[in-house]
Amino acid sequence: MAYTRARRVLPGFGLSLGFTLAYLSLIVLIPLSAVFIKAAGAGWERFVETVTSPRVIASFELSFGASLLAAAINVVFGLMLAWGLVRYTFPGKKLVDALIDLPFALPTAVAGISLTAIYAKNGWLGQPLSLFGIEVAFKPLGVLVALVFIGLPFIVRTVQPILEDLDAEFEEAAASLGASRLQTFRRVVFPAIVPALLTGFALAFARAVGEYGSVIFIAGNIPLVSEITPLMIITKLEQYDYEGATAVASVMLIVSFILLLIINGLQAWTARRSGRSA
């Protein structure tokens, strides 16, 4: 430490780090720790009883299942979109590229009521789909649709820069060695973008598990059928069941922390693979 102190030319280290740590602790770390302290205070048995109750288990299954499925769907179609944006020219490309981030910018409640209007029985897509007996709004399928909306930019925006940086040389080498385009994609391009695809998948999944606003309107919120986990926390709070709410919240927080570690690892892997600095 003495060595770095001697080399320090720039001022403001104590002030900036001190303020950063104080603000971080007051706004984020101490409040988050309240969840675990409160959950611990309620005792282990109460905790297990809450998080293994049928309604909460059903909500975990829906939230995690729909989030996994939505992220997987977005990996397939997000890759196509990213590929189109990087490799092809087409009219309106700049506009499409800019609008990909819409789910980041559009308030979730707005997305929620809009998706509900579209997929309701008299909606633009709900009506034609109902002719085939497919109901989306107020069903678990509605949850999936909302999570697909919210997750798309995560995949496109993590894969796009990696595709952009891919050197044409590898594909040229593959082509000159007689590989078909499909072989080249499978053996050369795809392995290079796997870390980015997995990172995007994990980011979309992490966001989807905690998502509330866009889902809540279209889900229908039927107990044991279409209740997501964040809604369980709200329901328990409205019944003044603070211990129950914190028990469910602590499970979600632990999942978030694990996902954060996985995402950090994946991002480091992506950076190493592509030689980019984060």
Partner: protein, 298 residues
């Protein structure tokens, strides 16, 4: 949102590079199929919800649209949304700049852990973000008794809404500035200090001009989220009409009362905000791309 700083690098215009090269060019039917499926997916899942907001908002005509916006509860919701953003965004700018200065300009142990902690609010569910403040400031919370003895309301009042907004927008500015300032290094600032500039002079004259686009990028994303936050604010607000309703909460109330046209009218303002945000963001990316390519040619 991760690695959003990477977007400041230009990533368009090279499509021709791939299409001109025989080895990287896809056959016409592959191009048609990939673009056809990809763009249909884009249109159904992204474009349609955006268009639907405006169509539903004007379903009952201009007059009903305007009436829904100038109604007193709507106006008070707009006001509260602006207040929450006006407090949380500047605070998170100060935090972002300070965190980026400490992390990018100095070496200290635990730096990676600190960066991970700064990202935490992005991985926490908005509902949990609201809950944590209820646990601390709510009636049954740590400070609940003390607050009610002193007649201070945090939960189900404006301070709670502001706190929840600060939490969910916490990382936006910091995570744009940290990688940017790390990449720029310390040489310019050290030169300024050696030539006799004060710390503040160095920051205003050297650091700030270097990071202005990244800072603006973080600020507009932070602002969009601050004005649009629903889940976290919903937990702490108590939904008192005309008092603790923000615009997204007002949309919810109108919608649940089956006042669809009015709900979509207020929602259309938020959708406009999203479009403005995306336009500024695209402009910044273009400017930042321009300035890096200028540097390359120099």
């Amino acid at each position: 949102m991760a690695g959003a700083a990477a977007h400041l690098a230009p990533h368009s215009g090279s499509a021709t590079r791939f299409e001109a090269n025989l080895a990287t060019r896809d056959t016409a039917w592959v191009k048609v199929a990939v673009l056809g499926i990809g763009l249909t997916y884009f249109a159904v899942f992204l474009l349609l919800p955006l268009v639907a907001v405006f169509v539903e908002a004007f379903r009952k005509g201009w007059e009903a649209y305007l009436a829904a916006l100038v109604e007193p509860d709507a106006l008070s919701a707009i006001k509260l949304t602006l207040i929450a953003a006006a407090i949380s965004v500047p605070l998170n700018i100060v935090f972002g700049v300070s965190a980026a200065w400490a992390i990018a300009k100095f070496d200290f142990p635990g730096k990676h852990l600190l960066i991970t902690f700064i990202d935490l609010p992005f991985s926490v569910s908005p509902v949990v973000a609201g809950l944590i403040y209820v646990l601390i400031f709510g009636a049954q919370g740590w400070f609940g008794t003390w607050l009610s003895d002193n007649d201070i309301k945090v939960i189900f009042a404006v301070p709670g809404i502001v706190l929840a907004t600060i939490f969910v927008t916490f990382p936006f500015v910091a995570r744009e500035l940290i990688p940017l300032m790390q990449a720029q290094g310390r040489d310019e600032e050290e030169a300024a200090i050696t030539l006799g500039a004060s710390g503040w002079q160095t920051f205003w004259r050297v650091t700030l001009p270097n990071v202005k686009w990244g800072l603006l990028y973080g600020v507009i994303l932070c602002n969009a989220r601050a004005m649009g936050e629903f889940g976290a604010v919903s937990v702490v607000s108590g939904h008192i009409r005309g008092e603790t309703n923000t615009m997204p909460l007002h949309v919810e109330i109108l919608y649940n009362e089956y006042q669809f046209a009015a709900a979509f009218a207020v929602a259309s303002l938020l959708a406009l905000l999203a479009l403005v945000t995306l336009s500024i963001k695209t402009y910044i990316e273009w400017r930042a791309g321009l300035s890096t390519s200028e540097e390359k040619t120099l």
